[in-house]
Amino acid sequence: MSTETHFNSESNLEKVLKSGQFAFTGELGPPRGTDVEEVKEKAKFLKGNVDAVNITDNQTAVVRMSSWAASLILIQEGLEPNYQMVCRDRNRLAMQADILGGSALGIRNMLCLSGDHQQFGDHPDAMGVFDIDSTQLIAMVKQMRDEGLFLNGNEIHQPPKMFIGAAANPFADPFEWRVHRLAKKIEAGADFIQTQCIYNMPKFREFVRLANEEGLTEKVYILAGVTPMKSVGMARYMKTKVPGMDVPDEIINRLKGVEKDKVAQEGINIACEQIEEFKEMKGVHGVHMMAIEWEHMVPEIAEQAKVLPRPVFS
Amino acid sequence: MRLTYPTNIKILRVPCTGKVDVMYMLRCFQEGADGVYCVGCLEGNCHYNEGNLQCRERVNHIHDLLEEIGIEGDRVRMYNLSSGEGPTFAKFAQEMTEHILSLGPNPLKAKPRKVAAPA
């Protein structure tokens, strides 16, 4: 892995991946208010069951507690955050300021995203900033970290330490282009990739095959995105309403095929079968578990997916 | 056929309802007409392909303009018939007249034009 020669960010996730172990990350959406207890409550279910927790940044363009603030609460609770940053809400000044602040206070992972368009959110008339895009954000964090330079080329006194993440959606079209876009993000400086929720396994296998062929999986750690379906309604919603999501009918039929009170368990079963396959898949280095508003199920899912116990580094 | 239809209707002939302009209709109301309706050929039978369809769009547009101004939008309507349908023409005239009678006079009629107050 070329990433092994990279700067050591002191991130736990980085250590897990570099040690060659199968990573397991979780996700937590900050509250729509100031309730610290809500963050702590969700974090309780994730502690010890995941290597790092993605803290979403105004997810779906809905205002929430800022992702760095929620990340700090997680650090206090003894978990490792993966600080998400979207290009929608900040310009390059604010981004760099938040990167410095986050690093100063102990944030060691970042996921660089474009962000859902503000039109989907609770402030649809907001000005979308999009000063730089996600690829450029990755390059900026890398330059800050590795060269100790701000985007304008000025020197940073004590540069930030960050393990740099990026997203990939193998299912959005044009499919042929997705591997090239992944390559661009790697070239920009991504250390790890978390993918969009995977339901269409044949398509994902093809994506990973192409990434292997291009040698990309040697340059970056890929964490496969998994979201267990809670209900048939959720599966249908994901299929028809979420842009860039690919839910095959077999998934829906399989959920429909079980008794109503067993649908959620069937969703978890599907997820665990996927995880079993990812563990064996060349080019996949871990799983990103996005149990949306289902954090309390993570211990059970981790148990069933046989990813416990999580590695501990002294 | 010697059909009768209400005498309070003033007919303005145009070569095609596609010729009916937004300003023609608006001006009618400005001058005090209680209602305006356009009678075009049957949809799909326009000699100019879509003159009558364009007229319908404009009638809808005038409907909205009237509402903005503060006059019932339903004072403007669109009807379609073929040239051989005299009785239908008389029926539409009757129907429109009754409809406008139920709405009452154009509210602008009670407000004669006068010179604007000096600034």
Binding site: G128, D133, A139, E187, P243, G244 | G70, L108, K111, A117
Partner: protein, 227 residues
């Protein structure tokens, strides 16, 4: 050309509240072509306003005059005598944001109000349908994007697209909005030029963050502006 959309009638009416003698000035160039602010649109709006104000027992004397171009002093000059004789207490402009400002500048003592919202630089797809194509960003990228502008057409102004929200060739914001980067990819594929977007497009400086002036070489500002 520049396209604009007429403001909602209620907003226009509200702006003109308290003004009783108004000249509505149309523009015979871009906004005429896009059916927003030419001679006919001036007539429609004036008729609406006259009727509405009469209904409110607050009559307005509103006149209309459409000139060739409001962004050109030469054409604005023909308004001088009309405005002097008319003793208007307000002007309204149906020109784009550029034209109205030149009008307001010429008659600085008369309040001037916009009747349209300028929405951008667009092509005429068919009569009545205008599609924005340029954001006048001062830094054209069309050379490497196959002639399709991501600054205008991509809702996130991405320079390294398409994002994960591409939906069967449409943008995530709407099925009716084509994805700019999907189109760019498609066109460059057809031209065998995908290498053009395989390399990372680095951060750009936004050149439209302060007022821009253009001074052509060989020209200079006159010492004194003549009206």
């Amino acid at each position: 050309m520049i396209v604009a959309q007429r403001k909602p009638f209620a907003e226009i009416k509200e702006m003109l509240q308290g003004y009783n003698k108004v000249l509505n000035v149309g523009c015979g160039t871009c906004v005429s072509v896009c059916l927003t602010g030419g001679e006919k649109e001036v007539a429609v709006l004036n008729t609406e306003l006259e009727m509405a104000r009469r209904l409110d027992d607050d009559p307005i004397d509103i006149q209309g005059h459409t000139i060739e171009r409001q962004c050109d002093r030469e054409y604005l000059a023909e308004l001088d005598s009309i405005i002097e004789e008319g003793k208007f207490d307000a002007l309204m402009s149906m020109a784009c944001g550029v034209g109205i400002q030149f009008l307001a500048e010429r008659y600085p003592l008369i309040p001037t109000f916009p009747a349209v919202d300028t929405s951008g630089l667009a092509v005429n797809q068919t009569v009545g349908w205008y599609e924005e194509r340029c954001r006048s960003c001062s830094q054209c990228v069309l050379g490497f994007t196959g002639g399709i502008c991501p600054i205008t057409m991509c809702a996130k102004r991405l320079l390294n697209g398409p994002c994960g929200g591409t939906n069967k060739g449409s943008c995530e914001i709407s099925n009716d909005q084509p994805c700019a980067w999907f189109r760019i990819w498609e066109r460059l594929s057809g031209q065998g030029r995908l290498d053009s977007i395989k390399k990372i497009n680095t951060t750009r400086g936004w050149k439209d963050q302060a007022p821009r002036n253009l001074m052509q070489p060989g020209y200079k500002k006159p010492e004194k502006m003549v009206k």
